[in-house]
């Protein structure tokens, strides 16, 4: 196997706040191969976005401590000096944000904002960059791109703004594209268009994509692999097929259970995961999910869940003390019937 495009090893990210140290990401490891899409799923505050801002070095160094390794094509990023990171950002690694209205500056034209990274990273002249911008806007499906490039973001619709964001992210043909909930702020119909666009462009540009979302429906559509995050750590990983067809972790079961389905009985209630996500200031001991877990009683060895942190292996794995057999039987007998 060649070196992965992105390899995150034992990443710890913590913030100093007035109330204490928040461990936003804890012991996180994952790989992303070129041209593949990794979906990262989890609730708000599970560390999805922080992980990816750290990849770009966009955390505030004054309040943030980063430990571990982030290797992009073998290059260590956590210790890379700022000018090195600037060369990578927008060039080899690009990012799409959740809300394209706030993520684009209201003061400059869409075209100028898209052209900026192209001029910076490719040393292109204004004219070349503008031509490339118009070409990219055309590629992401903006009609009449030459004219629309001169518009300001507020003159674009939500879907068009996100298309413009995508054009901006892809203008330097990045190896890695990080999409942080790119469709959450959009209408459902526009969502589908944007997802299709991303898939088409991935074919064309061959970028690896990290797709962050809390929407399992979207992830099923987009991702090759899935990593489920909870309270700053990965709790389950595998291919999309594996994680969605035969999930192994009680938290993943909970996520699937709490998803509304069009084909279920009308009037059937959703079953949310009991409790609330833990405070990362003072996370639970042992398995971080144990206070909300209905299955901890079945784990051999009383109290293991509260004291011992279950490890997460590479490839197909879940961080839970239940045995593989238990996970399989519980899923087939108790969870699956409820999913319909």
């Amino acid at each position: 196997m060649s070196t992965p495009l992105l390899s995150v090893r034992d990443l710890h990210v913590s913030f100093k706040t007035e109330d204490g140290v928040v461990r936003a990401v804890d012991r996180l490891s994952f790989d992303l191969e070129r041209g593949r899409t990794l979906g990262i799923v989890g609730e708000s505050g599970s560390g999805k976005s922080v992980t990816n801002l750290t990849v770009l070095g966009l955390h505030n160094p004054m309040f943030t401590t980063v430990e571990g390794e982030i290797l992009l094509d073998g290059q260590e990023l956590t210790t890379a000096p700022e000018p090195e990171l600037e060369k990578l950002r927008g060039n080899k690694v690009a990012m799409i944000f959740q809300d394209p209205l706030t993520a684009l500056s209201p003061y400059y034209t869409v075209g100028r904002q898209i052209a900026e990274p192209y001029m910076k990273h490719n040393g292109a002249s204004k004219k070349e960059a503008w031509e490339r911008t118009v070409e990219m806007l055309g590629k992401v499906g903006i009609p009449n791109p030459g004219q629309r490039a001169k518009d300001y973001p507020h003159q674009f619709s939500g879907g068009m703004r996100q298309r413009a964001m995508i054009a901006m992210a892809l203008i330097c043909d990045p190896d890695l594209l990080i999409a942080d909930e790119p469709t959450t702020a959009l209408d459902v119909t526009v969502q589908a268009q944007i997802l299709d666009l991303l898939k088409d462009l991935q074919q064309e540009f061959g970028s690896g994509i990290i797709f962050i979302t809390h929407d399992l429906g979207v992830i099923a559509d987009m991702a090759d692999d899935i990593m489920v995050m909870y309270a700053g750590s990965a709790v389950e990983r595998g291919t999309t097929e594996q994680v969605l067809r035969s999930p192994q972790h009680p938290y993943t079961w909970g996520l699937l259970n709490s998803m509304p389905r069009l084909d279920s009985d009308t009037g059937a209630r959703l079953s949310p995961i009991p409790g609330t996500p833990p405070s990362l200031l003072n996370p639970p001991s042992g398995c971080r999910f144990h206070p909300r877990c209905a299955f901890q009683g079945r784990v051999a060895g009383a109290g293991r869940c509260t004291t011992e942190r279950p490890p997460l292996a590479t490839d197909r794995a879940s961080a839970c003390h239940l045995t593989a057999d238990q996970k399989r039987t519980i899923f087939i007998e108790e969870i699956k019937p409820r999913l319909g």
Partner: protein, 326 residues
């Protein structure tokens, strides 16, 4: 944009009109008769009645106001002191000089004081604020923020006499503040105004430091600033191109208000340093119950504030395309 400006100007005229009525009514509400001040030692009811008649104070209030408005727009030849072309505020009760030319005499002092101080406090205040925001959390930031906090708490009537006592009377390092005409002698114009500029701009600079710092820090947390960073733009570029642009809106707003009110007369500063500007004139006109002068100063100050308000609104359109295009 043009329609917007026309609407704002009409609005401003209405405000001025209302303000003149309020001033007029308030003046007559004050239990003090300007005629008493004018008639001197030989005062008797007859002479007071005579003065009332000459000043037109024996006419009904509405008629007096109408005459005032009429003179303001059309000018007047009815004054004993001589003709009074529009805008005619009449003649001062106290000095018998035409009000308009008194205002225009005093204006250069106030303009020199205000604009000189504005240049200083914009450069120093915004510069320090930007530096503090750039170096947020460091010793530089803490020193600037702390210093600005302390200085903001000072007042001109404290800092002014202090500066005079130390820098002028004790050490003789600077000239005694005075206003000299710029065209006559630029150097003494400059040296005479240094101390007032320094004192006035010190306090404003502290406020602008705090304002620029907090506006920048707020802008730097905007998502579009993060996007720009994620594109690989340098911290400096993002700071000056993206964050600064957004910070201009609150800064321009406050600056417009400050400049307008200062141009209407920096009352305390002018009084402290004995500068014969509009602020000093305003105080005098109150002391002498000098209605024509008071109205003149009031309306002039209000006009300044309103004009700069409109200028600020027009400036928004240059800064923010959302304003321009909506």
């Amino acid at each position: 944009m043009l329609r917007f400006l026309v609407r704002r100007i009409i609005g401003a005229v209405v405000i001025l009109f209302l303000l003149s009525i309020v001033t007029f009514v308030l003046f007559f509400g004050v239990p003090r008769d300007p005629a008493l001040l004018m008639c001197g030692k030989t005062c008797n009811p007859d002479s007071i009645a005579n003065i009332h008649h000459v000043l037109g104070l024996d006419k009904p209030l509405t008629e007096q106001y109408w005459i005032f408005l009429h003179n303001l727009v059309m000018g007047s030849n009815q004054f004993a002191q001589g003709p009074c072309p529009a805008p005619c505020f009449g003649y001062s009760y106290h000095t018998n000089d035409p009000v308009w030319s008194t205002l225009m005499d005093r204006l250069p002092t106030t303009v020199s004081l205000t604009l000189g101080a504005a240049v200083c406090f914009l450069i120093v205040g915004l510069g320090t604020g930007l530096l503090a925001a750039w170096r947020r959390g460091t010793l530089v930031d803490k020193t600037a923020t702390g210093g600005a906090m302390v200085i903001s708490a000072l007042q001109i009537y404290f800092l002014g006499p202090l500066a005079l006592a130390i820098l002028v009377y004790q050490t003789h390092w600077f000239d005694k503040p005075a206003y000299n005409d710029f065209t006559g002698d630029p150097l003494s114009w400059f040296t005479g105004l240094i101390i007032p500029w320094v004192v006035l701009s010190t306090i404003f600079a502290a406020q602008y430091t705090r304002m620029a710092r907090s506006a920048m820090i707020e802008q730097l947390q905007e998502e579009h600033v993060r996007t720009a960073r994620a594109k690989g733009m340098s911290r400096r570029y993002v700071f000056f191109r993206y964050a600064w642009r957004g910070s201009l809106i609150p800064i321009v707003t406050i600056f417009g208000i400050d400049l307008g009110s200062l141009l209407g007369g920096a009352i305390i500063t002018e009084y402290t340093f004995g500068l014969p500007g509009l602020g000093q004139l305003a105080v005098q006109s109150v002391f002498f119950s000098d209605l024509p002068l008071l109205l003149g100063v009031m309306l002039f100050a209000a006009t300044m504030i309103l004009v700069f308000n409109i200028v600020v609104d027009a400036t928004y359109a240059f800064i923010d395309p959302r304003v321009r295009l909506s």
